[in-house]
């Protein structure tokens, strides 16, 4: 299904999450990169050396969750825009997710947009709580979204003002 539609299924992405204890103990990275491709920028991006690919560049990235503090630096470095950060302890009932974003206009902090799933379908309202666009991100913004806890691992994109195609 992932191979024929580009949409990761629950069994695909669940396998990428850390264990429950780690999920409760602070923000964590989720690397939704499922295929052996010759690519490795994520490995060099992490200042805490939490991501390993190793000598064979075709290896799927592996996360050592003990080292990841959820800083989100790796997000804008991945050419596949496949890296997200999830914080399940943001505030009661809500989590925060960080997603990569390469469309204009950028959403504005404080606005409420539609959170969409891996298939682009609207799931829930998402409040924009952070917009990072530092020079070293090279034009890939990182957007912080406040979403209901149930949706922290479902929402992976946004729609601004209900327009089509994620814009």
């Amino acid at each position: 299904m992932l191979k024929s539609s580009g949409i990761a299924q629950k069994s695909d992405w669940e396998a990428k999450l850390p264990d429950v204890n780690r999920r409760k103990s602070g923000p964590y990275v989720v690397i939704e990169c499922y295929q052996k491709i010759p690519c490795n920028p994520c490995e060099g991006a992490c200042p805490n050396k939490a991501v390993t690919i190793g000598e064979d560049i075709n290896t799927i990235p592996c996360v050592e969750y003990g080292r990841c503090n959820g800083c989100g630096i790796c997000i804008s470095r991945c050419p596949g825009l496949a890296i997200f950060v999830v914080d399940e302890g943001f505030c009661p009932g809500f989590g925060k997710i960080l997603i990569p974003w390469e469309y204009l206009p950028l959403p504005t902090k404080g606005s409420v947009v539609a959170g969409v799933g891996r298939d682009g379908k609207e799931l829930c309202p998402a409040e924009v709580v952070e917009v990072r666009i530092a020079k070293n991100q090279d034009r890939t913004a990182v957007i912080g979204l406040k979403v209901p806890l149930d949706f922290v691992n479902q929402v992976r994109g946004i729609k601004l003002g209900g327009e089509e195609n994620g814009r």
Partner: protein
């Protein structure tokens, strides 16, 4: 007549890397490219590149040529210059601009002329509004012109998926991506990017017809069965004004054919490809190939092949053989590592066919 030790034809990633490697070994290099700006395919690629960090992965394609040009002051660059002929006496003919014709006599040549797009036959494919993906990228990313309002993309390989993403970034609606094969050919991370923007990727589908009076007004798509035949009754008409074809590339071999380089049909490498040895020398002693011309692959491999061919040609021209040997060996190792994974399987199979077949074609073919 312009004389030089090494002529590099084409200033994409392969040509730039070849020129830079040879120049670093003390060889006098002339690089000719028909474009106004060096970089080949890279000047249209606004996305961050895949590949290994040593080959500038994570950097946007448009920014890579500058990195490759960094220590290139020793290379004599002629842009806006097309090589138009290649003759047995070792002379090549060239034209700068529209009418400045001249001859070049190099001791060695590296052809890094890239690849050209394949086309697809279907009723209506001659209507205005049917574009190749390369043309859409040139219009959009080089000249800032949108090709239309609603696009149907044909082909879910890396190019089809990436160009669809760039269309969305330009604010254009992509109605769907159709792909005849059962699976997406592009890297799945790219496909997922498109999926979460709500663009349906329809595998086992094809375009049946483009309709319109003066230009494309709609396109009919349909589902395919296991034997790649249209399943009657599954036809759907989409309202689009652009049909964009991204159905593969094949190496540009005009000049290599003119001079009679041996070649072989290898679908895994994009069609007809020139025979070459492990140092990228063709069947003609003074001609090397690198990059998509040698077999359609990607930019990391093109850069490594360029370095390899540049160093091999330099060694033949009398450059320090230990230094050249080091570059050659490290490039061969990098190529092996890039191609080691499952997505490299096709390339590996293609190269095995080419190398396995070379004795046969050397013995039995003119």
């Amino acid at each position: 007549m312009v004389e030089t030790q090494l002529l590099v034809v084409g200033g994409g990633p392969a040509g730039l890397a070849a020129a830079s490697a040879a120049a670093s070994l003390g060889i006098e290099v002339l690089l000719a490219d028909e474009g106004l700006k060096l970089g080949g395919q890279l000047v249209k690629q606004t996305h961050k590149f895949f590949g290994s960090r040593e080959h500038h992965a994570g950097v946007r394609g448009i920014d890579i040529p500058n990195l490759l040009l960094e220590n290139q002051d020793k290379v004599n660059i002629m842009s806006n210059t097309t090589i138009i002929g290649c003759y047995e006496d070792g002379v090549l003919t060239a034209v700068t601009g529209e009418d400045q014709y001249f001859k070049i006599k190099p001791q060695r040549v590296v052809f890094a002329t890239g690849a050209s797009e394949k086309f697809l036959s279907f009723p209506g494919n001659d209507l205005p509004g049917v574009y190749g993906a390369g043309a859409v990228q040139t219009l959009m990313n080089q000249y800032g012109v949108v090709p239309g309002k609603r696009v149907l993309m044909i082909g879910a390989g890396n190019i089809g998926i990436i160009v669809s993403y760039q269309l969305l970034q330009a604010g254009i609606h992509v109605a769907a991506v159709v792909e005849a094969a059962p699976n997406i050919g592009a890297y799945l991370v790219h496909a997922s990017k498109l999926a979460r923007a709500g663009v349906p990727i329809l595998t086992r589908h094809t375009i049946v017809e483009a309709k319109g009076t003066d230009s494309v007004q709609s396109a009919v798509i349909a589902q395919l069965d296991e034997k790649w035949q249209v399943i009657p009754g599954t036809e759907k008409e989409l309202e689009v004004d652009v049909v964009c074809l991204a159905v593969g590339l094949s190496p540009v071999l005009d000049l290599l054919s003119q001079i009679g380089c041996r070649r072989k049909y290898i679908p895994e490498l994009g069609g007809d490809v020139p025979f070459r040895d492990k140092q990228l020398k063709t069947s003609i002693d003074w001609i090397y190939v690198a990059g998509d011309t040698a077999g359609v692959e990607e930019a990391s491999a093109a850069m490594v092949e360029g370095r390899l061919a540049g160093a091999a040609a330099a060694a033949q021209l009398g450059a320090d053989s230990t230094e050249a040997g080091k570059i050659i060996a490290s490039c061969q190792a990098s190529l092996d590592s890039l191609r080691r994974g499952p997505v490299g399987a096709k390339i590996r199979a293609g190269i095995a066919k080419l190398e396995g077949g070379c004795c046969k074609c050397l013995n039995h073919q003119a």
